[in-house]
Amino acid sequence: MIVIVDYKAGNLTSVQLGFGALGLETRVTRDPAEIARAGRLVFPGVGAAGAAMRNLRELGLVAPLQAAAARGIPFLGICLGTQIVLGRSEEDGGTETLGLLPGQVRRFQPLVPTDKVPQIGWNSVAFRRPHPVLAGLASGSEFYFVHSYYPAPANETDVIGVTEYAGATFASLMGRGNIVAAQFHPEKSGRMGLQLLKNFSNWDGKC
């Protein structure tokens, strides 16, 4: 069973439909006990980091998420979930986040007016190293992005894939141990995205 964390940070229907298309069962929950004992966690989200962290605290989900990640279960961050996996965000005047991976989140600083913020659309991900969630996918495959801030992990070894936008080369896919985190939306990225979700569902959390 794949547990999807619901912390009032956006619409989870497409995440459920993505796994559903693969014949995989999901459960959407905001119950701390259920999250703490999950065998496989998806941590999605859209919106602002400050509001999201407030929701996580109010729902009592910070400690269960940290505990679940520490137990070594396969853990997938998506979009805002990925940004919150890091320790700090520039958003909302600076927000302390979960700190499951060291690093921070920065805002795009466009060099030319045609670099719109947010980045909306399909961009390619160049793979820096192999990872079980990338099985069957070619480096340079395109995925769907919607974001104004991007992950900047402290350690180069946590970077799995990179993407270029608005003069920045950023970590669009990060991972360490049982944690993997995508800035793009695999659930909205067609066949490539579904392949990544399928790989995640088969992964034992080791790499």
């Binding site: 993505g18 298309a21 859209v46 399909w122 961009n123 395109e142 769907y144 066949r191």
Partner: protein, 259 residues
């Protein structure tokens, strides 16, 4: 590199996709779910589904159709037609759509844009606009006036001023559908698209007039569009998405190559 998006548009009436010229002489083209699936398999980057009679018939959008589209395709899609309240927006998003398109009802109630943007995020709120070419004067410095209700009503609003206001209110994207070019298949209104693209900081989707792949190249290059809507040129089978993409790639426009 961020690629330019190609977005098929399905105008749906009574559960059938239709296509007309300037909102008239509509002909039926088939089942929306079957067409959505086909364009998804062919590599379209996004999809727009308009329930074109919901607004006129004062009924809520066909939510079951939205659910079926969401089950069939795993790329972003926008839904428009008859969305008047936050509750309407929420129903569409929970049914699996990524974006909501508002047009006439946002002109009548601009606050809807800000309310939707604050509740669901700017990335969910797409403003659709239908500008028509008019004489440049003090009221219409851009030379384009916003129309509503399928081009039938004039608003007295300048297109560039409305685009700026909508972006300030929180629209995350603007679809610029030229009344003059709509359904003609003689190319996009490049001047109009560029005027809007230069006026706002959010992505602009060009709409109306796509008849062949070079029209898309023109609107990406000269119109500064971030995305382009196609309808008749693919619905008739004259062109396919892969053919459009390969011609764009050959002319140096970045398009999604893997799907």
């Amino acid at each position: 590199m961020l690629t330019r998006r190609i977005i098929p548009c399905l105008d749906v009436r009574n559960r059938r996709v239709t296509k007309g010229v300037r909102f008239q002489n509509n002909v039926e083209l088939g089942d929306p779910i079957a067409l959505a699936s086909r364009y998804y398999e062919e590599g379209c980057d996004e999809l727009v589904v308009y329930d074109i009679t919901a607004s006129a018939e004062r009924r809520p959008i066909d939510i079951e159709m939205v659910r079926e589209v969401a089950r069939a395709i795993h790329i972003p899609f926008a839904v428009g037609g008859g969305i008047a309240t936050l509750a309407d927006m929420e129903r569409v998003l929970l049914a699996g759509a990524e974006k909501i398109s508002v047009n006439s009802l946002a002109v009548a109630n601009p606050a809807l844009i800000g309310e939707g943007s604050r509740a669901f995020g700017a990335q969910c709120i797409v403003l659709g606009m239908d500008p028509v070419r008019v004489a440049v004067d003090a009221r219409f410095p851009s030379g384009y006036e916003i129309t509503t209700h399928g081009f039938r009503e004039r608003t007295g609003m300048d297109a560039v001023a409305w685009a700026r206001r909508a972006a300030d209110l929180g629209a995350g994207e603007i679809v610029v559908n030229s009344v003059d070019a709509d359904g003609t298949r003689r190319g996009f209104d490049l001047r109009l698209t560029r005027l809007i693209a230069e006026a706002v900081g959010v992505p602009v989707v060009a709409s109306g007039g796509a008849g062949k792949p070079s029209h898309l190249a023109d609107v990406f290059r000269e119109g500064l569009a971030d995305a382009a809507i196609v309808a008749g040129m693919i619905h008739t089978g004259e062109f396919t998405i892969p053919r459009i993409k390969s011609e764009l790639a050959a002319s140096g426009i970045p398009v999604r190559a893997t799907w």
